[in-house]
């Protein structure tokens, strides 16, 4: 017995080191760059960087689709499976690059296909992960609910109030989700200044004639734009496009491309949040850099009654367990 006691610190040290190895693999997926994405598995609500060597200069059709969502009981499905993004990316050095922020976790597929040689393509499957802070908050929430239930069961008035305060404080911790007000119901407060869609004789317009209409995280919306100079299309102009989330001022998508022979910028995209966006374009036309922008908006999807009941009943499980436990322990107040 005494021998075991003496060995215990060593065993614990070994256990901690061994668990370190297990967690390294886990944390690497969040931190370390992968073969195509950085981080190897993009984290929802954070910018992820993609690059893949295609070996040839040219225009590439890039498609991102969601293959499946995580378990619907424990993870809210914001983006439904299906196409998320379809757009042309231009590469001068044979590397196709993209920056994109995903709305939620799940299995995704990115396809990069040469616009002239369709057989020259690459299909990459990847996972988008849940931010670690959300798991922490889930665990905290369930612990607090259990504690609140227990104290209610025991009818300990004072402690239950303290618990409520701790619960409120703990859950109000800042997190990384794309936070915003009631999009569509009120004007978005933004520090982003207006950029016009016309500079001198260069104009950026919607191909369909107006800003797209649609819901965030559903079917890709038609964000196609056309670059014209005195009415005629600006062909083969290289550009940078930033899809700016106006409430945060941060991009959710960044693309480098070249306009088509019709002066078009092809973009079918399902934005990750229901709010206002500004599509900022920096185009190089005949040696001069033009800054142009168009504004658009995606409608916020509303929580469904089914989802709300599922969440509520899930939360009530630890509460009821706590109440039962506290009640069994007897009244103390």
């Amino acid at each position: 017995m005494s021998k075991v006691k003496w060995l215990l610190p060593l065993l614990l040290a070994g256990l901690v080191i061994a668990s370190g190895f297990v967690f390294v693999k886990y944390y690497n997926a969040y931190e370390a760059p992968g073969e195509h994405w950085t981080p190897a598995s993009p984290i929802a609500h954070q910018m992820a960087y993609f690059s893949t060597p295609m070996g040839a200069e040219g225009d590439y059709l890039v498609t991102i689709e969601k293959l499946s969502s995580k378990s619907p009981l424990f993870f809210v499905e914001y983006q439904t499976p299906g196409k998320v993004l379809e757009m042309k990316v231009h590469s001068d050095d044979g590397l196709v690059r993209l920056q994109q922020q995903f709305a939620d976790e799940g299995e995704y597929r990115i396809t990069v296909q040469h616009s002239i040689h369709p057989m020259h393509k690459e299909v990459i499957d990847f996972t988008v992960q849940t931010p670690l802070s959300k798991y922490n908050n889930d665990v905290l929430l369930f612990i607090f609910l259990l504690a609140a239930g227990y104290l209610s069961g025991k009818r300990l008035r004072g402690l239950a109030v303290v618990c409520l305060m701790v619960f409120g404080g703990g859950m109000a911790s800042p997190e990384q989700a794309v936070a915003h007000g009631m999009a569509g119901n009120q004007q978005v407060m933004s520090t982003v200044m207006q950029i016009g869609n016309e500079v001198d004789d260069i104009a950026l317009t919607w191909v369909s004639g107006k800003a797209p209409i649609g819901e965030a995280n559903r079917e890709p919306m038609d964000w196609r734009m056309q670059l014209t100079k005195v009415g005629s299309p600006v062909k083969r102009a290289s550009y940078d496009l930033d899809f700016i989330h106006l409430e945060s001022g941060l991009p959710v998508l960044h693309i480098e491309g070249v306009t088509t022979d019709h002066g078009m910028i092809d973009l079918q995209y399902s934005p990750p949040d229901g709010t206002e966006y500004q599509l900022q374009l920096r185009a190089n036309i005949e040696g001069r850099m033009y800054h142009l922008a168009l504004n658009g908006e995606a409608e916020a999807i509303r929580p469904t009654a089914g989802r709300q009941w599922a969440s509520f009943l899930l939360m009530m499980i630890p509460v009821l367990l706590g109440i039962f436990w506290g009640w069994k322990r007897g009244k103390c107040g």
Binding site: K134, G149, A183
Partner: protein
């Protein structure tokens, strides 16, 4: 002050004699957690929604928008 003391006495009396109050207290003890959960996570009152928005986004199980 006099009224307050009178009220306290009255309350103490009713506490001792009325099972209704005990029942009300029990209901409150059962209801306060669902009420808090509803307010924090599900109420669609604009001001409450805006105030609680990051909290609603902070877990994996609550749908916001």
């Amino acid at each position: 002050m006099n009224i307050s003391i009178t009220m306290q006495q009255g309350m103490a009396k009713s506490h001792a004699s009325t099972p209704l109050k005990i029942w009300a207290e029990r209901v409150l003890w059962l209801a306060w957690i669902p009420m808090v959960l509803f307010t924090v996570f599900f109420a669609s009152i604009p001001d409450v929604h805006n105030g609680m928005h990051p909290v609603r986004h902070s877990t994996t199980i609550v749908q916001c928008h």
